[in-house]
């Protein structure tokens, strides 16, 4: 297991290095690191990406198979799996990764924070593009849109914004630290709720890459959602406040309201199962608003982590997570969002799931015959 762990951490370090191939041409603050490889070596980079992702998911598969229900506690014996140590190394390995290799959301968070805390304007009314000549406009996407996230998230971004002391690089890594902090918080919460749920969430490469590398705020939303469920037993008002905080981050968790309300009155069992189902439905419906982004999977993975007794389901989610991470490949390889890219993207996402289902079916048939 030590070998697998080492491979996992080394691959994460390599992935972090790999992200710097995608430093934006217009990002003057990191000009020294700009190589332009993502223009000139598309296929090579896409191939690297496939290998790195495949290795990470293979390691994750071994971890899940190895899990024996000890959570964050130390295992003993020859095959010990020190989950706490792996998580710490995972954070160290990824915290310095360039966060805009796969998505540009972090720049959007930073620019919105700048609109509020520097320009002191309401980001729900004023577009970032209205601040003519602002240097952030050169590399931020969706500057012609008002704030996309909830007010609580915007309030929270004040912490990394001021921690950055006006320095772009410091601000960017402060944002990364904030998100990493919520990742740690989520892991601790999972450990408190059910020790066995930790591994499936914390070591899932999709969760790691989308949270610790790309710094998506979905983890913050899920932290408060899980905190709401955790506080249910202790203090219902605090629990409700936490639930509202979660909704005020990114709105998606509002769909957990039926489960949450039924949990308050104690009329529901299998809370996590129904939460996972609801979040998965919302995940599937997300293309109605925009498109199926891989990091939206964090919404249901957080709850699927509790369903470890259902091996088939967890393996299915693992394979689907892998498929979702493959969605990045067509754009990486072609540099084109249009044409056949969306079709290939969907095929790549579905293919591992189909293969897994066929394999499981054949195995089942073989078992029955045997």
């Amino acid at each position: 297991m030590r070998v697998i762990t080492s491979i996992f951490i080394i691959t994460l370090v390599l992935f972090s290095v790999f992200t710097y191939a995608y430093v934006d041409a217009n990002l003057s603050y990191l000009k020294i690191l700009y190589t332009g490889y993502y223009f000139t070596h598309r296929i090579l980079l896409a191939s690297f990406y496939i290998v790195l992702i495949a290795v990470l998911f293979a390691c994750f598969y071994f971890f899940t198979q190895h899990q024996n229900g000890a959570g964050l506690a130390k295992h003993s014996g020859k095959h010990k799996l020190n989950l706490k140590k792996i998580i710490v190394f995972t954070i160290i390995a990824t915290i310095f990764a360039y966060p805009a290799a796969l998505a540009f959301d972090i720049f959007n968070y930073m620019t919105t924070a700048k609109v509020v805390f520097f320009y002191q304007e309401n980001p729900y009314i004023i577009y970032p593009i209205e601040f003519i000549n602002d240097p952030y406009l050169e590399f931020t996407r969706a500057v012609n849109k008002t704030a996309l996230y909830g007010p609580f998230w915007i309030l929270l971004t004040g912490i990394p914004y001021f921690a950055g002391l006006g320095n772009f690089v410091l601000t960017m890594f402060s944002f990364k630290l904030l998100v990493a902090g919520f990742f740690v918080g989520t892991v601790i919460l999972l450990n408190k709720l059910d020790k066995n749920a930790v591994l499936f969430f914390a070591l899932n490469p999709l969760v790691i890459i989308e949270t610790l590398v790309s710094s998506h705020n979905d983890i913050v939303m899920m932290f408060f959602a899980l905190l709401a469920f955790y506080l249910l037993r202790l203090n219902k008002l605090s629990s409700l406040m936490s639930f509202i905080a979660s909704v005020m981050i990114k709105f998606s968790t509002v769909f957990l309201l039926p489960v949450f309300l039924l949990s308050i009155v104690g009329k529901i069992k299998k809370t996590y199962k129904y939460s996972a189902i609801l979040m998965f439905i919302i995940f599937l419906l997300s293309p109605l608003r925009e498109e199926l982004y891989p990091w939206y999977a964090i919404w249901f993975i957080a709850f699927t982590a509790f369903l470890y007794r259902n091996r088939f389901l967890q393996n299915l989610v693992l394979v689907f997570s892998f498929g979702l991470m493959l969605r990045y490949i067509p754009y990486m390889a072609s540099g084109n969002y249009l044409g056949v890219t969306p079709i290939i993207r969907n095929l790549l996402m579905i293919a591992p799931v189909v293969i897994f289902l066929v394999y499981s079916w054949l195995r089942m048939l073989k078992g029955n015959n045997g």
Partner: protein
């Protein structure tokens, strides 16, 4: 040597030629002026009329207006808010003038002017805070032009003075033309 009659004929011809020339020049100037006037029509679009006084929703809108004042914080936010309100009340005034509700129309006109006056200081504040506002200044100029056009049109349809005599209340003399002139003057400053 030309005879007197021939000289007179030539002089008349010159006069005619000058007259033609002047007519053509004048026609060209008029045509160009008309074209210019047509082109000068502001492309700025005013909003649809909202709820009118007397409606319960109008009162709710007044509350909303007060709340939104705080929601639209910041220099650009306040710029947007004041311009929106000024536009809204101008449209309200126009509609009420059409229905000869002069007292209410005059109040709406005053409100529109009050908000319009607040717009430019927001840009000055933005400048002080290091924000570039060239686009907003253009927007304000276009708005001022549109407001001026509409207010000028109103001048021809509205009585200069009107005695408003409501039931069981004391009458009010409304100097509508004066009011409109004052409103136009406010806008012209920003052209």
């Amino acid at each position: 040597m030309l005879s007197k009659a021939e000289a007179l004929k030539i002089e008349n011809l010159d006069l005619m030629r000058n007259l033609y020339l002047h007519t053509i020049i004048l026609a060209t100037i008029l045509l160009l002026y008309a074209a210019k006037s047509a082109l000068a029509q502001s492309s700025y679009v005013l909003p649809y009329p909202s709820f009118m006084p007397g409606s319960i929703f109008y009162k709710l809108n007044l509350i909303k207006e007060e709340v939104l004042k705080y929601w639209y914080f910041g220099d650009f936010g306040q710029f947007t808010y004041n311009l929106k309100q000024s536009d809204k009340y101008l449209v309200e005034a126009k509609t009420l003038f059409d229905y000869k509700q002069y007292l209410l129309a005059n109040t709406a006109l005053q409100k529109s002017g009050k908000y319009f006056e607040k717009i430019y200081p927001n840009l000055l504040s933005a400048k002080k805070n290091g924000k570039k506002f060239a686009e907003k200044e253009t927007m304000l100029r276009e708005a001022a032009q549109k407001h001026t056009e509409d207010l000028t049109k109103l001048k021809s349809t509205v009585p200069s003075v009107f005695d408003w005599t409501p039931e069981r209340e004391s009458p009010t003399t409304l100097n509508l033309l004066e009011s409109l002139d004052a409103s136009i003057k406010l806008r012209v400053k920003r052209l």
